[in-house]
């Protein structure tokens, strides 16, 4: 336990995956960090309509698995969809649309490690939705719903 606690001590940064305004606002608080070259790694990813889902997943993987200096990962509940997925989503039933929008979230719901902690935050376009919050989903599971 002592060794693992030592590892946690190194986790001193917050990471953000979100839309431009979310990231700008959080960086204004001074959480942004770029590691020293040559492998300059940022602790944030700005997601817009052009960002591929694979890029979001890669960033999530990097923040949660590869980097050992991240303590909390903040992610917008609703991340932007690529244009093609927007078009596909618009012609599909709502349930299917939710499945596509949650493409990255399946990683969050199956994420069980203690550190880094994943926190979902509302985005500019979409208010906080308790139905999608992974913590409240856990609460429902505990009470047998």
């Amino acid at each position: 336990m002592a060794a693992s606690q030592g590892d946690y001590k190194d986790r001193q940064f917050l990471a953000v995956i979100g839309d431009e305004d979310s990231v700008t606002g959080l960086l204004l608080a001074g959480i942004g960090h770029v590691t020293s070259p040559p492998d300059s790694q940022k602790n944030f990813l700005v997601v817009d309509s052009k960002t591929e889902t694979s890029a979001i997943e890669a960033a999530f993987e990097s923040f949660t698995t590869q980097r050992k200096d991240i303590g909390i990962v903040l992610i917008n509940q609703h991340v932007g969809l690529p244009p093609l997925l927007y078009f596909t989503a618009s012609i599909l039933p709502r349930n299917t649309w939710l499945q596509i929008a949650d493409k990255i979230r399946y990683r969050i719901d199956t994420y069980t490690a203690a550190f880094p902690t994943i926190l979902e935050i509302p985005s500019k376009e979409h208010p906080y939705d308790p139905e999608k919050d992974s913590v409240l989903r856990r609460v429902r599971r505990l009470f047998g719903e």
């Binding site: 606002g25 960086l27 001074g30 509302p122 505990l142």
Partner: protein, 255 residues
Amino acid sequence: MDQDYIDGLLERYLHLLHDYTSLREELNALQTGMYQNIARANFAAERGVRFGRDYYDDRMQASRRLTINFESRGQDEAQGPSESQTRKNLSALGSIITTIACVPASTVEDSKANVDVEASHPYPEAEAAEQGASKSTDKLAPNAPTPPPQTDMDAQPGRGAGITVERRINDFTLVAKKGTTTSQKSNDPLRWFGLLTPMPLREAQTQSIRAIEHVIPRLASLNSEMAVVEIEVRRARKRRAKSEALARRLPQQSS
């Protein structure tokens, strides 16, 4: 006996859930204000200017960092006796219970401020220029380093241990060879957007700092504490189910 223990755990869990939902509401309010202020700043900005990623500094260094502690909160006595007992039971299980804390500005990493210039300076190319500036300011500046500006939020008292965000103020402190005079450079992200930033952007920064220092670390702590309680509830339920099954079997065998 088991049932009482489970009830105690569930009571504790519901308290945590209440805290979690109220903190969520606070975070929502802060973020809504932050988005509105950024939108206002963008609206009032000059044509073509948008306060966004185009202005980010590619060499940015975090001025707010996390510290993760594993000591239990010193508020157990202030809580109800059953709650305190539940927490002690959970701690005895060896579970990691992270709790809430707000670190005052005076507890900032002083040791990090005294490391070598080459190792600590985040902007090496600006170092030479700054050293030159420090020579000129040495004549004017007093020997003691100027204290960092304290906000009202920084002055709030600590609430225990846990995941916290602390300000690393002295990122730019250059220790002179004599070791007596220091100079500081602003590490404020607002400077990315120019010297005269609009008021809404400053307000957005204030709200963001409040969210980062006071709400998000507490949410993360509550998240981990709720996870610990969930695991313990499930274990207790399994133990109860086993003991009930055993109790059912015993009369059958005796008959």
